[in-house]
Subunit: 254 residues, 2 copies
Amino acid sequence: MIDVVILGTGNVATHLFRAFSQSPGIRVKQVYNHAHKSLEPFKNEVPTTTSLQDLETADLYLLALKDDVISHYADQLKHCDGLVAHTSGAVSLEALKGPARRGVFYPLQTFTRDLKVDYSKIPFCLESSDPEDMQLLQELAHDLSAPAYEVNSQQRKQLHLAAVFVCNFVNYLYTVGQNLCEKHQIPFKILEPLIMATAQKIQQAPPRDVQTGPARRGDSSTIKAHLDLLEEPSHIAIYELLTRAIQSEYGKKL
Amino acid sequence: MIDVVILGTGNVATHLFRAFSQSPGIRVKQVYNHAHKSLEPFKNEVPTTTSLQDLETADLYLLALKDDVISHYADQLKHCDGLVAHTSGAVSLEALKGPARRGVFYPLQTFTRDLKVDYSKIPFCLESSDPEDMQLLQELAHDLSAPAYEVNSQQRKQLHLAAVFVCNFVNYLYTVGQNLCEKHQIPFKILEPLIMATAQKIQQAPPRDVQTGPARRGDSSTIKAHLDLLEEPSHIAIYELLTRAIQSEYGKKL
């Protein structure tokens, strides 16, 4: 049984709390937040506290906190015997200065508060300089049935950055598609199968090898027609920039 | 039984030929291409011709051709009794000037030559000014078990444009992710579940409502850190432009 104290009550903290609570190998002993109000949704399910002095003894203190306060909280936990690990993609292991035992337990996923999550599909990026602590983090991921990868701080930062491109920016391009559909009374769901197929395709072949579209094939008359159809200046700028990037990747000029 | 003559031997022609051949309600009578060599892969399975004079009688002549030659070929088919339909997202119905009966049978999908396709997931965008011809196109889609939508030329052009954003540009962002991973010895497959989850999420909620990431939450220190990590000028330009676009969509300035 792994005893865990969770610090934080945001999206990641809430999702991990739910997942830990359903895992027989993990016991959440306590949830901490500095504000009483944020603890309200947890109060009926688990002991909570607003005081770092009152933290329970645990195997793992999980800092599911905003990037810019992780160091500060780690300093406050320097007398803890347990492993202190954060869940951030962008913060290095070394930022955990205070505690003797430190680690990273970073779920590479997009969490939306009310959407369910399948943990067997979430890669956890693990980091620790101590083999036993690494083993504890491996067990934690294993108890969630989640795939785990050992990833150092430098690689994790690159993954976090790559995630912005393949998740956040991709979702924004979906929104552009939604805007174009709405403006012309087309149901957006017509695009859903194409969106799924585009994502599924890269499970079969690397994206660099399956690029299609007017930019890839150097079809300048379609590109011109598309630029004429677009009305929003920001959509035009995105179309032009990504078309140029694709053409330069594949050796064709606009 | 719907008798079809396919004109063209490219990606769309090849995929539709395979799908039609497996459908009991459809018979492909002939495949046309102006070049002998392009017909080679079809020769053992179906009669072929390089001469428009030798086209068989059919219910449907499907022009699965490059956009810029569709009008030219339609002119040559003006004496055909059958319905003449093209498969292009960008060409209007009116571009089919010659034939008396004309239509559009546009599969909204990304076809890669050797990857399998599930037709039950491909929306076909149908257009015709004649109700009986529309019914023929509906039957054709139905025989492929494919969902069908009536979409006019103006809407189809917008869908074709939207598809560039949600498919071609999205795939390019996947490639940026692949580049970042390769440069830092990270297996790209760590990103695959995130890519799938991002695509799946919009089946549950519209993309505009589920935008996440540093740009969305106005996290300027992460944005700065990411820009410092990026090395390729084109990646920096894309990061800056999409971040600005997201911030202006959600009312936060960089």
